[in-house]
C-alpha cells in the first residue's frame, strides 16, 4: 500500500511539473502574479511529492520489500542497513528518482527565491518545470521503481558488491547535486535569453543570481568526482585513481564546463560583460550533465564503471538531450546576437585573464568530449574501432591544462578593465623563483630522474606560491604593520578566501597527481606466509591468511606487515579478497598503509603456488608517493567553493554591487 503511495506521488509530481510549466508560461504571458504564484506553489508541491516517492523507495529498501521488483533486483536481507538504504539509489530507476528529487528540489528553492525580476523568475520556473516533466515522464513511463512482482521472491539479488562501500553510498547524491544543480543555471540562462535586455543593471544582477548555483554545483561535483576517484583507487585494487574511462570523463565534462561558467559569471557579475558567453556555458554545462547520464546508462562506450546499462532507455535520454538542449541552443542562436552587455576592457586585465581561462577550459572540455565520443563516431562512420586512453589525453588535455595553470596566478593579481603586466610580474617573481627551486629539489629528491615530472612539481608549487603571493599582496603582508595586515585579513571578503583556497587546492592536487603518476613503484609476487616483497623503499611481509565471514560475504583475509627495507617502522595492514555468494562476485579490499603523504597500497590476489610449490597468494604492492595530496587538493578546492558560497555578496537580494578593495 505504501509502495503504491510512492508510485502515486511520482505521477502526481509529473502532473505538478506540467502544471508548473503551464501556469508559469501563462503567468509570464499575462504578466499575472497570481498565475506565477500558483506555478511557484506547483513547483514546491512537486518537490514534496518526489521527496515522498523517494522516502517510500528508501523505506521499501530498508524493510526489504521484495514484492517491489527494484528492491528484489538490488537488495538482500543480509546487506548492512547502510547499503540497503544506498541501494535505493544504486540502480537506474532509483537513481533517476534521486535525479528528479534534486531537480524539483532545486526548482522549489528557485521558486522561493526573492529579488529576481518577475519575468526572469517566471521564465526560469517554466523552464525548470519543463525539465521536470521530461525527467519525471522518463521515470514514470520507462523506469518506474515501484513496479510490483507477483509472486514476490523470497530473497533479493543484492547490490553489486563493488557498490557496497561508504564512499560510493554518498558519491551519487553528491554527484547528482552537482549535475542537476546545473539545471538551475540552465533555466536561468534560458530565462535570461528570453528576458534579456540591453540594460546596464540586468546582466550584473543576472550574473549574481547564476553564480551561487554554478558555485554550489561545482563544489558538489568536485566532491562527488573526488569520492568516485577515491573509491576507484581503493576498491578496484589497480593502484590507479583516474583511467580516462568514458564514465569518468562523463562526470569530468560538466565539471570543466561548470568551472568555466564560474569564472565567466564573475566577469558578467562585476562588469556586465561576456553575457552571451556566460549564457552559452550555462546551457552547455547542463547539456553535458545529461550527456553524462546518457554515457553512463546507455552502455554505448565500454567502461569499467558502466552502470545500469540499458540501450533503449539510453535512447530516451538522448531524446531528452536533443529536445532540451536543442531548444535551448536554438533560442541562444536566435537571441544571442541581440544581447547587449556592457563593460569594455583591455586585453591585459582581469577580464582578459578570465577570458583566457575560459578559452583553455572550453578547449580542454572539448578534448575530453572528443576522446570520449570519437571512437563511437568513427565506428559508426567507417566501422573502424579505436581506443582512446591515457596517452591521448596526456598529449592533448594535459598541454592545454598546463597552459591554463601557468597563467592562473596572474589572473587574480590583474586589475579590472586594464591590468599592469609588469607589476604582476614583479609581484609574482618570488613565487616563480620558489617554484623553480621546488622543481629542482623535486628533480634531485625523486628517483628515477624525470624532467617532466620535476617540471610538474614546479607547476604545482607555482600555483600554490602564486596564489599565496596574491593574498600576501592584498594583506600587505610584511610590508605594512602586522595590525594592518590583520585588519585587512578580517575585511577581505569570504569570496576572496574561497578563490585562494580553490586555486591553492588545485596546486596541491597537481603536486599529488604529478608525483604519484611519475614516481609510483609497483611490484607483484606470489608469497607464501612469511615471505616478503619489496617495492621501492618498502618491504611487505605476508604474515597469515585466514577465512573470515562478513555480514553478506566470505573473505580471505591477509594480514601483512609493511616495514622499511631495513625492517624498521612496521605497520600491520589487512587486505581482503571478498566473495559475495549472492551474486557470485569477488571484490578486493585494498590494504592501505598511510605513510605521511605516501600510500603503501597492498592487494591480496588469487591463491597460487609459489616457485617452491607451496600454497601462496599473489600480492601486489604499490608505493604511491604523495597520493594523499590527490584527494586532499580537491577537498581544499571544494572548501574554497563553500567559503565563496557563504560570502554575503552572493546572497540573493543583497544588492551591494561594489566592495572596497
Amino acid at each position: 500500500m505504501i509502495v503504491e503511495l510512492g508510485a502515486f506521488a511520482l505521477i502526481l509530481a509529473l502532473v505538478l511539473s506540467a502544471l508548473q510549466t503551464g501556469l508559469a508560461m501563462a503567468g509570464r504571458l499575462r504578466r499575472s502574479p497570481v498565475l506565477a504564484g500558483a506555478a511557484e506553489g506547483a513547483a514546491i508541491a512537486g518537490a514534496v511529492a518526489v521527496a515522498l516517492a523517494f522516502a517510500v523507495l528508501i523505506w521499501a529498501f530498508a524493510v526489504s520489500d521484495f514484492s517491489v521488483s527494484n528492491v528484489a533486483a538490488n537488495s538482500h536481507t543480509d546487506k548492512p542497513m547502510l547499503y540497503k538504504i544506498s541501494g535505493a539509489w544504486g540502480s537506474h530507476e532509483g537513481s533517476l528518482v534521486l535525479w528528479c528529487l534534486v531537480l524539483t528540489g532545486f526548482g522549489a528553492v528557485l521558486a522561493r527565491a526573492r529579488g529576481l525580476p518577475f519575468g526572469l523568475k517566471v521564465s526560469a520556473i517554466a523552464t525548470q518545470g519543463a525539465l521536470g516533466v521530461m525527467f519525471l515522464a522518463f521515470t514514470v513511463f520507462t523506469s518506474n521503481p515501484f513496479v510490483r512482482l507477483n509472486p514476490a521472491p523470497f530473497q533479493g539479488n543484492s547490490l553489486n558488491p563493488l557498490l557496497q562501500d561508504p564512499a560510493l553510498a554518498v558519491h551519487p547524491p553528491l554527484l547528482y547535486l552537482g549535475y542537476v544543480g546545473l539545471s538551475v543555471c540552465f533555466s536561468l540562462a534560458v530565462a535570461a535569453l528570453i528576458e534579456g535586455r540591453a540594460n546596464s543593471s540586468f546582466w550584473p544582477a543576472w550574473g549574481r543570481w547564476i553564480r551561487p548555483w554554478a558555485l554550489a554545483s561545482w563544489a558538489f561535483l568536485t566532491t562527488g568526482i573526488t569520492l568516485g576517484a577515491f573509491w576507484a583507487y581503493y576498491e578496484l585494487g589497480w593502484g590507479g585513481w583516474w583511467f580516462w574511462d568514458p564514465v569518468e570523463n562523463a562526470s569530468f565534462m560538466p565539471w570543466l564546463a561548470a568551472t568555466a561558467l564560474l569564472h565567466s559569471a564573475v566577469v558578467t557579475e562585476r562588469r556586465g560583460a561576456l553575457v552571451g558567453w556566460t549564457a552559452f556555458l550555462a546551457l552547455l554545462a547542463f547539456t553535458l550533465s545529461i550527456l553524462g547520464a546518457f554515457i553512463v546508462r546507455s552502455g554505448v562506450p565500454t567502461s569499467v564503471h558502466a552502470f545500469a546499462v540499458d540501450p533503449e532507455r539510453g535512447m530516451v535520454l538522448l531524446a531528452i538531450l536533443a529536445v532540451a538542449s536543442g531548444a535551448a541552443f536554438a533560442l541562444f542562436a536566435w537571441r544571442a546576437p541581440q544581447l547587449k552587455g556592457g563593460g569594455m576592457f583591455a586585453p591585459v586585465s582581469r577580464e582578459g585573464a578570465l577570458v583566457l581561462n575560459n578559452v583553455f577550459l572550453t578547449a580542454s572540455c572539448a578534448t575530453v568530449m572528443l576522446g570520449t565520443l570519437y571512437p563511437l563516431i568513427l565506428e559508426a562512420a567507417d566501422g573502424a574501432t579505436i581506443s582512446v586512453g591515457p596517452p591521448y589525453f596526456a598529449l592533448t588535455f594535459v598541454p592545454l591544462m598546463v597552459a591554463a595553470l601557468l597563467i592562473l596566478p596572474a589572473g587574480p593579481l590583474l586589475a579590472w578593465k586594464r591590468g599592469d603586466l609588469k607589476g604582476v610580474g614583479q609581484r609574482l617573481a618570488l613565487a616563480a623563483g620558489l617554484a623553480i627551486l621546488m622543481a629542482l629539489l623535486g628533480w634531485m629528491a625523486f628517483e628515477p630522474k624525470k624532467a617532466l615530472s620535476a617540471a610538474g612539481i614546479g607547476l604545482g608549487a607555482w600555483l600554490i606560491f602564486g596564489t599565496l603571493a596574491e593574498v600576501a599582496e592584498r594583506l600587505r603582508l610584511f610590508r605594512a604593520p602586522f595590525a594592518e595586515t590583520l585588519r585587512r585579513a578580517r575585511s577581505l571578503p569570504l569570496g576572496a578566501w574561497g578563490t585562494t583556497l580553490a586555486h591553492a587546492g588545485l596546486g596541491v592536487f597537481v603536486l599529488g597527481a604529478v608525483v604519484e603518476t611519475g614516481y609510483r613503484v609497483e611490484a607483484a609476487r606470489a608469497l607464501a606466509p612469511g615471505q616478503m616483497i619489496e617495492a621501492g623503499k618498502w618491504a611487505v611481509r605476508l604474515d597469515s591468511v585466514r577465512v573470515v565471514e562478513g555480514p553478506n560475504y566470505l573473505a580471505e583475509q591477509g594480514r601483512l606487515t609493511v616495514t622499511l627495507r631495513d625492517g624498521s617502522a612496521p605497520t600491520a595492514v589487512i587486505a581482503e579478497r571478498r566473495f559475495f555468494p549472492t551474486g557470485g562476485q569477488t571484490t578486493t579490499e585494498v590494504g592501505l598503509d598511510f605513510r605521511g603523504l605516501d600510500d603503501v597500497y597492498v592487494v591480496l590476489g588469487e591463491r597460487v603456488r609459489n616457485e617452491a610449490g607451496d600454497p601462496a597468494w599473489t600480492v601486489r604492492v604499490w608505493w604511491n608517493p604523495w597520493a594523499r595530496l590527490i584527494f586532499l587538493g580537491p577537498a581544499i578546492m571544494a572548501l574554497g567553493g563553500l567559503l565563496s558560497l557563504l560570502d554575503r555578496r552572493l546572497r540573493i537580494g543583497v544588492s551591494r554591487r561594489k566592495r572596497t578593495a
Binding site: S200, V359, K417, R474
Partner: protein, 179 residues
C-alpha cells in the same frame, strides 16, 4: 546458488568454515576447460622489464571494458603480458611490438589512437577548438564595446564603422589599484 549460500549462512560455524574453504578453493582454481593464464614472470633484465611495464599501460585488454593489460586480472591480459615480454626478450623494439599487436587485434588494442585520415579531427580537434574559441571570444569582445543604453540602428552602424577604423583605446578610468 542463493539457497546454498543461505544454508551456509544458517549453518553452524564449523560447517560454515568448511564450506568457506571449499568455496575459496573453487574461486582460486580456474575452471577446468580454460587453460590457466601464464604467470607473471618479470624479465630478468630491469631495463627490458621497465619497457614492458610502460607498454602494458598502453595496451588494452581486448576482452575487458576500459582496462589496460597492466591493470586487468583477466587471463587474456596475463597472456598478452607474457606475449609482450616474450617479444621484448626476443629483441624487438617497442614500435615492432605495437605493430605486431595491431596486426593481431586491430587499432583497438592500443590506447594511443593511430594518426590517419579518420583520426585527424581527434588529434587536432582540441587545438582547433582552442583556436576557434579564442578567435570567437576575441571577436565578441571587440564587437561589443557598447555601453549601457541601447543605440539606434544608425548609431550602431556608425559605431561599428568608427571602431573598425581605430583600435580601442584603454579606458581612462581604469586604475591599477581598482581590484
Amino acid at each position: 546458488m542463493i539457497a546454498s549460500a543461505l544454508t551456509w549462512m544458517g549453518g553452524t560455524s564449523g560447517r560454515l568454515m568448511l564450506a568457506a574453504v571449499c568455496l575459496m578453493v573453487l574461486i582460486a582454481t580456474p575452471i577446468a576447460a580454460e587453460p590457466p593464464p601464464r604467470p607473471d614472470r618479470p624479465l630478468p633484465e630491469a631495463a627490458q622489464e621497465t619497457r614492458a611495464q610502460a607498454l602494458f599501460r598502453d595496451i588494452r585488454c581486448v576482452v575487458c571494458q576500459h582496462e589496460a593489460i597492466s591493470d586487468s586480472p583477466a587471463s587474456l591480459a596475463a597472456d598478452m603480458r607474457a606475449l609482450v615480454r616474450d617479444e621484448i626478450a626476443a629483441g624487438r623494439t617497442d614500435a615492432q611490438v605495437r605493430g605486431d599487436l595491431v596486426r593481431r587485434y586491430g587499432d583497438f588494442v592500443l590506447f594511443t589512437p593511430p594518426l590517419r585520415g579518420g583520426t585527424w579531427l581527434l588529434w587536432f580537434g582540441p587545438f582547433a577548438v582552442l583556436l576557434a574559441t579564442g578567435v570567437s571570444l576575441w571577436f565578441f569582445m571587440r564587437r561589443r564595446p557598447t555601453e549601457a543604453l541601447p543605440l539606434s540602428a544608425t548609431e550602431e552602424a556608425d559605431l561599428t564603422r568608427i571602431l573598425a577604423e581605430q583600435a580601442v583605446r584603454p579606458v581612462a578610468d581604469a586604475k591599477p589599484s581598482d581590484q
